[in-house]
Symmetry: C2
Amino acid sequence: MNNPIQKVTTRSLEFITEYLQRYMQMTKDEVELLLQYCELRYFDKKEIILKEGETDNYFSMVVSGLVRKYIRVKKNEVILQLATEGHMVHSETSFLTRTPSLVELETLEPTTILSIRYDLMQEALAKYPNGERLGRLILTRMYIKKDERKHDRAAKTMKERFLEYVTNHPHMLQRVPQKYLASYLNIKPETFSRLKHLVKEKK
Amino acid sequence: MNNPIQKVTTRSLEFITEYLQRYMQMTKDEVELLLQYCELRYFDKKEIILKEGETDNYFSMVVSGLVRKYIRVKKNEVILQLATEGHMVHSETSFLTRTPSLVELETLEPTTILSIRYDLMQEALAKYPNGERLGRLILTRMYIKKDERKHDRAAKTMKERFLEYVTNHPHMLQRVPQKYLASYLNIKPETFSRLKHLVKEKK
DNA sequence: TAAGATGATTGATTTGAATCAATAATATGT
DNA sequence: ACATATTATTGATTCAAATCAATCATCTTA
């Protein structure tokens, strides 16, 4: 357990167990069996995990580190996700449809990712009795999350989303250059900076 | 076939066949078997299909007519979807999680809807050999669509989305009060009105 | 079909965030 | 640890869309 490889493997097992248990009662052996299908991938800071135009062959979870997902649009970038430990991060549409990705993935820290390849996932879906069901339940939850985010966007003002974000994710302000947080919230860095005064005044 | 009930049934069969065939090769008999699980629901113009706070018990498709999906937010409404023939319309999250809906559904025209109840869907998922797989594939496509819409929102300016919408859905300007279209595009009716000049100038 | 209600258009004004710009703070690499 | 590059802050200005307001068009229904 002092071996760093062993440590990351243990952590992976914890994460994937927690992830799968959300959807289905599974024994430790079953989880470990599925883990056999997975691989760990290691990235440096500021490394590109997936380039725009590449097909994402992996369905992935961050085990440690931090990944940003973004699109390029007219010389600019728009951050779509900031994924930390335990979060899934991939180009879902590219992975699911086997088409070139519109998004890019880049690490903001040295990062370890636990991934399952597309072909192995298909194999597992078909091979295990509850595979399809598990797949359906995972997709269902993914869908619900996206729906909730959309609702959130529609219902809240920019200021509300800002306040909610900084109060719910205070650690992220330490970890992530705030221009990325600004982009994620769909505002300019200058505006983000100015909005911080709102928070301070509340204290 | 001159019988109006027969007509709507035929149309339902066409729609559901097309819908299911997107995901899985199915015989006419198999589709008709699934249709047994469904029911047709009829609504007048301006009738509420689903109220905020109610749990949506149906997974539904518009056979004829038009339905708007919206949330109430601070005395206002935000339109999330305008569903016409062949479109799915329900409170997905309410249906999938069995919790009170945040959205409301209201018809803008006399409308016929083809629906399957939650419990019957569960039964069908379990009963038929490819049920879970079909369910997974449908959810997958739903997810992809939502993802694409999100990407669209992130990548395009308000003006671009406006122009794209009015050129791709010219009939909707006839069918729907434009304050709803404006809300759907996240702009004020006055702004929508003014943007129409852009289109005319192009001609 | 006429009256009232609802929706659309157009103009004038306000407002909030983007942009532009300059400086300060922080991070990065050698 | 230093020099350079990147990021954050703050102020001044611009700009686009919201708001306010009045009129016109259209739908509804009695």
